[in-house]
């Protein structure tokens, strides 16, 4: 029997993620790589790596959906779908009872209201970095820590210091001042996590929170933020094993559904040429 495969490419502001799944919705390959300024045009390299991992070639892939902030820069994609819809689908795969998904990424945070696996409403943070992963990336060096160390550090806190400012730049000034006052490091980190969590929770409350709540995105790897978020929302939150991949997984699964729907209706599947090459930008075209 010939197996068919579907790929999801999620180009976020910080990380690029690729998931390849088969028709049985089994993940056969997953790659997470830094997006970066130059990498944004090089989605093809991440895709090549994912194909190599699965022992496949691009011709084996029936459908590719690109999503995320850089979704327009994927020349081999058949379709672009927003990260909102893709995350909703990916999160549903992880937990069927999901009604609210919260994703905190490098550039923004969003809350998705989901019913039967379908996105029905959403809110997104706008330009302020305070409720995002960037907030932690900026503040970690000020505290002499790596981003990865923040979660565990905060779990050692005996109390959390109140961080009054929710602006990243002013937050940094506040942290410096707290350090000068001799506040314990772990209490400051716990305060920072609470600042992010309360900001994102108040955004999510606009959607009227119902369980189950799933937390995804790079910041979901931070156990301190996860704990603070659960407290702020007043309910248990569930985190997938790999919280970065829900968008790419959702994209791959939506690709499968697109193909299956077309086949059921006896319609041809509209596909691109699947050219595995670098993205060309408008300013480079003669």
């Amino acid at each position: 029997m010939i197996r068919i495969y579907f790929a999801g490419v999620d180009i976020g502001s910080t990380m690029t993620k690729v998931v390849i799944a088969d028709e049985g919705e089994k993940v056969v390959s997953r790659v997470i790589s830094h997006t970066g300024a130059e990498h944004r045009r090089l989605a093809n390299r991440v895709m090549e790596e994912a194909l190599k991992q699965a022992g496949l070639s691009i011709d084996d892939i029936s459908y590719v959906i690109a999503t995320g902030y850089g979704r327009i820069n994927v020349p081999f994609a058949d379709k672009q779908v927003t990260e909102l819809t893709c995350h909703a689908r990916g999160v549903y795969q992880f937990r069927q009872g999901v009604r609210l998904a919260i994703d905190i990424g490098g550039q923004d945070s969003k809350a998705l209201k989901i019913k039967d696996g379908k996105l029905i409403d959403f809110v997104m943070s706008d330009k302020c970095a305070a409720g995002t992963g960037r907030f932690l990336e900026v503040l970690a060096p000020t505290l002499g820590l790596r981003v990865e160390e923040l979660g565990e550090t905060s779990l050692r806190a005996t109390r959390k210091v109140k961080i009054s400012s929710t602006c990243t730049v002013f937050g940094q000034q506040e942290v410096i001042s707290l350090l000068s006052d001799g506040e314990p490091l772990e209490d400051i980190v716990a305060g920072l996590h609470d600042a992010i969590a309360s900001r994102v929770a108040s955004m999510a409350r606009k959607l009227k929170i119902e369980p189950d709540v799933v937390f995804t995105g790079g910041v979901a790897k931070n156990s301190g933020v996860a704990k603070a978020l659960g407290k702020n929302l007043g309910c248990e939150i569930f985190i997938p094993d790999e919280p970065l991949l829900s968008g790419a997984l959702g994209a791959a699964l939506l690709g499968k559904e697109t193909v299956m729907k077309a086949l059921e209706r006896g319609e041809p599947v509209k596909r691109s040429e699947h050219r595995l090459e670098e993205a060309t930008f408008f300013d480079q075209v003669e």
Binding site: Y69, V81, T82, E83, L84, T85, K118, L119, I120, D121, F122, V123, M124, D126, K127, K206
Partner: protein, 390 residues
Amino acid sequence: MVNAAGTGLIRVKEIYRNREQRVKELKAEGKTIIGYLCIYPVLEMLTALDLVPYRMFGDMDETITSADDYLPTMVCPFLRSVLDLGIKGKYDFLDGVVMAHICDVGARLSHIWDVAVKTPYSHFIDVPHTDRKISRERLKELLQDFQETLEIFTGKKLTPAGLKESIELHNRQRAMVRELYDLKKPDPPLISGTETLQVMIAINSIPVEEGNNLLKEVISEVKERGDDVPKKSARLLVWGPVIDDIALIEMIESLDATVVMDDTCVGSRNFFADVPLTDDPLDGLAYRYLEELKCPRTFRESNTDGVHRGYQADLEARFGYLGDYAKEWNVNGAILQVPRYCDSHGYEVPQLKDYFEQISLPNIYLEHDYSKAALAPLKTRVQGLTEIIG
């Protein structure tokens, strides 16, 4: 001779690109041009005295600098932009301005204008904020006061007959706008949201009689159209305050969506209610501007007898007309667009979202910075809405 049936929309685009050209020509011919903000200044009185009303807008492409000397940066960017343009001399051709108590910033702007810009004539109408009988009586008095200042400024007397004639002229324009909006009911609509906004901005930039002639041409031209507007999955209603540039609607319509209906103050809001012809024309004007204009700046209740009939009745009283629009224009999604810091519209958003949920209309809230450069990140939100609609 050029066939008139094919030139209406071309003329609309010309006016859109160079809004002030026509009033500047009229000024050179000796006409008096009166700028106004928002939809509460009673234009019927201006037209009746042969004054040319000119709606004042901001400029999304112009960075606000000079206005910061007078207004804090965390207030309505549209009104800041209008003041900024005024200080920079963009409105020097105006002989006067009329502003109203549309919102708190709008009210203060009227006074700041007199200090920072100065025009020979200026008037502020302190329109009440409730739709009770006592407010209507108060508005009538305020309109008498407005009339007196206009009479002093022009040296002319405003007669009831002249005012009635002007009301009829403006009502004619309203009827024609409604006729144009009817052409948005088919699927696909005969005229896009972007084109509709251009038409609306054009008629807000020229004398009412010229606007009526232009609308007549546009309507007959649009009626003859074939498949000029592409069919899209999402048929959207856009709600909110002023939209004075096509950039936002163009962005929406670059996706799988068409704006088939709006409740915005450059769009349908100012044209879906006529002024009733009453014995004393001021009665009809006070009634229309306070009761019939559905802007959040006026506090509306489901009752005026002190008896609370519950949240659902309140939502229906405040937003029921939007449910009617959704049905009549076959709308399947809504965008609540609000420039940042627009308090009067922002306050409505949670309840309006509840209302839309009640009538099962998918919707999103788009807060923007009144800047074209800042529109790009909003595209994902609009695309997300089109994906929800499917």
